[in-house]
Amino acid sequence: MPPIIEGPPEAGEARPPLRTRLGWFIALWIAGAISVAAAAYTLRALIL
């Protein structure tokens, strides 16, 4: 099983095209915000 937290691409490893990289950047950015929002709203539902 590959590690969850991945390191940088190895030397000589092919890099995805710019469009794909930017797509991942936006997707991961939104996923990060949604994850924390979900945790916050879950805790609020439990507490309030």
């Binding site: 390191g7 691409p9 930017l22 991942w24 990060g32």
Partner: protein
């Protein structure tokens, strides 16, 4: 002691904030450390910087997660247990907390996703940008939280509306209230020192075990550099913060210093047992007549002792007095460890300094203790007010039943004990394992640099 809703609400906030502060005081420094490591890896291409990054980023992710959960829970208490405070001061303090949440959400939490899972997917440039955004986010979060907390210590830029609530008259005066700059600097330096102590302790441990030597030596040198520069600087910034408190919160300073009488020149008390009932100190060990020098006051100025404040306006003395000394004592140990490390490094004996490594392992958690002690001194010293001189803590609590607060406190105690113990143990296990290294496995359990270790390495 009467366990009413007020005391239980205070205990609950103290317990949750005590847990919470451990994590940001670590992640603020660790995020900046990760940005430096990644920047160095990009600039030099040396693998050990990458290995260190991948090691500490796991610990950062765990600490960040626990920091978010404990922080979110804490902020809800403003509504549940401190609704009168929220209603009275909400329009002043609310925007500051909202800005903190915005920066925490849109810089820290969101870019963390890219930082953890995106290195191969987004490429090195965007990944480094994300790490920097997380580091900036942690600092901006600290800025807004310290603005809110400092406003509670030294309120400014507000007035009372006809309905008795507080409203801001000058937003920037609220943000940059008298104690905010020095307290923000003090907190950020404390966070950097806390991280440096943990990194130094973990690196010293792996070096003692003879693992990941290149990574351990690099991380140890970075931590020593941080300690040697920041620890003495922290003493100066802490002193500046004390001067501000002296000007705006004289009762807090009197409690921290253990002064009971008004005098033109007060002693600097090293040790004492404050007796609040008898309004005196027992077993006092003090340097007499040094306060004018320390507080930069003219010799003719009278420095107020606790007796000049009505009893109902005094903070609890013993806890403030002792927590302040714990913080200062640990700070001085950090200065000594920084200078010791700089000395053995400068004289070329660092890699064999096993006694120093053991001292660093022992001192690894010292930053957390100092931060907790400092916060106890600051927050208990603010009592009996929630907004200093304006709103008493007793008047700020929600009209809730003691049983309700006790039940939620019990719930927090159980959940925190399980979740945070598991998290802390896992972090300790990760730290003990040390970073992945490209080096061959160690052949000796001797510390590097010892004669036997060196002989085995050469063999």
């Amino acid at each position: 002691m009467d366990f009413d809703a007020l005391l239980l609400a205070r205990l609950q906030f103290a317990f949750t904030v005590g847990f919470h502060i451990i994590f940001p005081s670590f992640t603020i420094g660790l995020a900046s450390y990760l940005a430096v490591l990644e920047g160095l890896w990009l600039a030099t291409g040396r693998e050990h910087f990458k290995n260190l990054y991948l090691f500490w980023v796991k610990i950062f992710a765990l600490s960040f997660g626990m920091g978010v959960v404990s922080g979110v829970v804490m902020s809800y208490q403003f509504g549940t247990n401190w609704s009168v405070f929220s209603a009275q001061a909400g329009s002043v303090i609310g925007p500051l907390l909202a800005y903190e949440v915005l920066t925490a959400f849109f810089l820290e939490a969101s870019f963390l996703g890219v930082m953890l899972f995106g290195w191969k997917r987004v490429g090195p440039g965007l990944h480094f940008f994300s790490t920097c955004m997380v580091a900036i986010g942690t600092l901006m979060s600290a800025f807004w939280i310290l603005a809110a907390n400092s406003w509670m210590q030294t309120p400014a830029g507000f007035t009372f509306a006809p309905d008795g609530t507080m409203v801001a008259t000058d937003f920037w005066e609220v943000v940059f209230n008298p104690s905010q700059p020095s307290r923000f600097a003090h907190m950020v330096l404390a966070a950097y020192l806390t991280t440096a102590m943990v990194v130094a302790g973990a690196s010293a441990y792996t070096l003692l075990k003879g693992r990941a030597l290149t990574e351990g030596r690099t991380a140890l040198r970075m931590a020593i550099l941080m300690m040697a520069i920041v620890a003495p600087l922290q003493v100066l910034v802490g002193h500046e913060s004390g001067l501000v408190a002296h000007a705006h919160q004289p009762a807090k300073i009197a409690a921290m210093e253990g002064w009971w009488e008004d005098r033109q020149s007060q002693p600097s008390i090293l040790f004492a047992w404050p007796d609040e009932a008898a309004e005196t100190n027992h077993f006092e060990l003090a340097a007499p007549d040094t306060s004018s020098f320390l507080f930069d006051t003219p010799p003719t100025e009278t420095l107020r002792g606790l007796k000049s404040f009505p009893e109902e306006d005094r903070p609890p003395v013993a806890i403030v007095f002792w927590s302040f000394r714990v913080m200062v004592g640990i700070g001085l140990i950090m200065v000594a460890l920084g200078l010791w490390g700089a000395f053995v490094w400068a004289t070329g004996r660092l890699d064999g300094a096993s006694l120093y490594f053991r001292a660093l392992v022992l001192a690894g958690p010292s930053g957390f203790i100092a931060v907790l002690a400092g916060w106890i001194a600051a927050e208990v010293g603010r009592q009996p007010y929630v907004v200093y001189g304006v709103l008493r803590t007793a008047d700020a609590v929600s009209p809730v039943a003691a049983g309700t607060v006790a039940a939620s406190l019990l719930f927090f105690l159980i959940v925190y004990a399980v979740v945070f113990t598991a998290g802390a143990l896992y972090i300790l296990r990760l730290m003990a394992a040390g970073p992945e290294s490209d080096e061959p496995a160690p052949r000796s359990k001797q510390p590097p640099g010892t004669p036997l270790g060196a002989a085995l390495k050469e063999a």
